[in-house]
Amino acid sequence: MKKYETPLLNELEKGPWPSFVKELKKAAKTSEMANDEVGQLEKSFRDKRGYWKHGGIVGVLGYGGGVIGRYSSLPNEFPGVAHFHTVRINQPSGMFYKTDSLRTILDLWDEYGSGLTNMHGSTGDMVLLGCRTEALEPLFAEVTSRGWDLGGSGSALRTPACCVGKARCEWANIDAMDICNDLTQTYQDYVHRPAWPYKFKFKIAGCAVDCVASIARADCSIIGTWKGNIAVDQDVVKDYAKAGMNINAEIVGMCPTGCMSYDGKTLTIDDENCSRCMHCISKMTKALRPTGERGASILIGSKAPIVVGSLLSWVIVPFMKMEPPYTELKELAEKIWEWWDDNAKPRERIGEVIELKGMRSFLEAIGVPPQPQQVLAPRKDPFFFWKDEDLNGKK
């Protein structure tokens, strides 16, 4: 194996934070591929630039995604990274693993690839980093025969992801892991065979704390909420006060709707004015609990700024019940995809198409009525359209 001098990368083995350079070098002990990755990276650090080429299409038979082609632009100097494709393995919902089950993947990856991973990629898949083209088919056969599958890439349904939800969080209003798994299984064809104008992502969070950042990075954000009151255990409120919490400053004063009051003994919530933001509950989890009907808010359209600006998801369905098999959600998603497919130019995300065509035509197409929960405020100009059915008083 070639021995690379790495004076620059060595600097990043120092310090208390776990070092990715140590990880690269661990894999490089036994893998020529990882070793040449180290060599090429040292050169990048010296020259302040990357040396990768975009790959063109590589993949496995019958799938249009799950593998991202990657080639070095210096294959003669670093033959081990001449091919260095990414294989996305769809994570189990919630990213819990039984150790023997994960070991199976590790053993296969040492045999067929570089031994380097990302746990996990930002969409949620396990990312196996660095694979040669000829290893893809046999690796795929090994992985799938053991009950695992590839995730999505390209203009497809991307691997859905969720928070830990009911598995270990008292705030989960919906079964985020089950919804995530159900959508992933129901739409395998859409995950593996890109057929859309662009990518489409689902992320499912159990409550408005949104630990998967669904509201910022999912075309369809599914966020748990509730309809009832917040139950207050006044004895436990007293415990918080005794333990030193300044309830007026930290809780009442920071409630965005001003719907709480505290007289030094009793914490009162004017539930009708609560917007369910989760602030008070997250700070006094032993004392406060949501009650009543549970469900999800469905929001649409968030994306990173490429290219006409970043978007946060917009509320379209303020409340939807979430019971398996999630038929209402799936019917809605299918209507959304149909409208998007009909109206988008290539590489237009759903949020951009809604901006171009108007929220009204989108909502009408998917059969969702107008509701004040969908907007921060109504429009401020008098320039609006009337359709015949509006004039006839149908709507």
Binding site: L12, G15, P16, W17, P18, S19, F20, V21, K22, K26, L41, K48, G50, K53, H54, V60, G62, R70, S73, P92, S93, F96, Y97, K98, T99, L116, T117, M119, H120, S122, L129, A135, P138, F140, A141, E142, T144, G147, K166, A167, R168, E170, D175, M177, N181, Q185, A208, D210, A213, I215, A216, A249, E250, P256, C277, H279, A304, V307, G309, L312
Partner: protein, 363 residues
């Protein structure tokens, strides 16, 4: 183990089976109390307990990881999980690793074992969690800076806020190595975004042979590219180009790399939770700092300056964005000593919403 032959692979392969069902991956205490958790308590930034209605308890030790992990390291983590956690482990959405156990006495043992393996405990509560990031020079063709290297240098410096020190509220750091922002860093408390700053250079002779002209023109999101029939190549309108590098992706002879011009911007004040003020976008704090590998000292000290100014000035539970909203951006620039430039004034899609339309402001 030997590689499968083509025949064997064909016989073995399955399609569209999806991931394993999560129920096969859950520790028994999680399966038993699924959906029946009552409350949780954070002991230290690396340890917490969740208590179920049944009275069952599950202790969690959360540890850092560099996201890039060698199989050897993951095996070491799995060994810890076998020893103390009945053979179960979990990853969080921010690339931390969680060890769960029903036995309180295992908590310090797990913490020690993970720390000995090089993965310190932390990341829970009002402080820093792991810094989410993208691929950088390790794997991506578009990268205007490395990702893992910058993250390592920054986290080394702000390390105590992960393991022990408190901040006014949860603070989320992120890094994207180009404006595609694969990590969707646009709603983070503080994010580093790598940027190119010059129109790419075209090698016309190579374009002729290597690139499909319509595809190249189509790749440009701002329609800055047009045909150059004389050269059988393309030209770029410098007034429209915003250095995204999409053209380079489809046509390598259009080179976007400029080692001496590439670098990073720093954005601040985003959040995704609806708590209190609702989700917010991150906004530009520092338009450019040059690439200075291997440890980017200028970026590290800029991040530290913003974090410490926030730590000293914000009220309890205020995220960076909420703090800036309260004190005003003019105070943010004053308190941090960051220079305000033309680049800070928006001229993109929603510019007019960002101009001040009130006669009230601070000096």
């Amino acid at each position: 183990m030997a590689w499968l032959t083509e025949q064997e692979a064909k016989a073995k392969r399955k399609t569209d089976i999806g991931p394993p069902h999560y129920s096969k991956m859950l520790p028994p205490v999680i399966s038993k109390n699924y959906g029946k958790w009552k409350y949780h308590e954070v002991f230290t930034p690396g340890t917490m307990v969740h208590v179920a209605e049944s009275g069952d308890k599950v202790y969690t030790v959360r540890v850092a990881s560099p996201r890039i992990l060698a199989t050897e390291s993951i095996r070491a983590m799995l060994d810890i999980a076998d020893k103390y956690c009945d053979g179960y482990i979990r990853w969080t959405t921010r690339n931390n690793v969680e060890f769960m156990t029903t036995r309180e006495e295992n908590v310090p043992l797990i913490k020690k074992a993970a720390e000995d393996a090089g993965y310190p405990a932390g990341g829970i509560g009002s402080g820093l969690s792991n810094m989410v990031h993208t691929q950088g020079w390790v794997h991506c063709h578009s990268a205007a800076a490395d990702a893992s290297g910058l993250v390592k240098a920054i986290m080394d410096e702000v390390y105590p806020y992960f393991t022990e020190k408190k901040l006014p509220a949860k603070t989320r750091l992120a890094l994207a190595c180009c404006v595609n922002m694969c990590g969707a860093v646009h709603c983070s408390d503080l994010a580093v975004v790598a940027i190119h700053r010059k129109v790419p250079e075209i090698n016309h002779d190579l374009v002729k042979n290597m690139c499909e002209i319509p595809t190249t023109i189509g790749a440009c999101p701002t329609r800055a590219i047009s045909p150059d029939p004389a050269k059988k190549s393309v030209k770029i309108n410098p007034d429209k180009c915003m250095y995204c590098g999409n053209c380079f992706t489809v046509c390598p002879p259009i080179d976007i790399h400029r080692p001496e011009e590439d670098g990073v911007a720093i954005v601040v004040g985003g959040k995704v939770g609806s708590l209190r003020k609702g989700p917010m976008f991150s906004k530009l704090a520092i338009p450019y700092i040059k690439n200075n590998p291997p440890r980017w000292p200028e970026v590290v000290s800029a991040v530290k300056n913003i974090l410490e100014t926030y730590a000293n000035d914000a009220r309890k539970h205020e995220r960076i964005g909420e703090w800036i909203d309260r004190i005003g951006w003019e105070s943010f620039f004053k308190k941090t000593g960051i220079e305000f430039t033309y680049q800070h004034i928006d001229d993109f899609t929603f510019a007019r919403d960002t101009f001040r339309t009130s006669a009230a402001f601070k000096w």
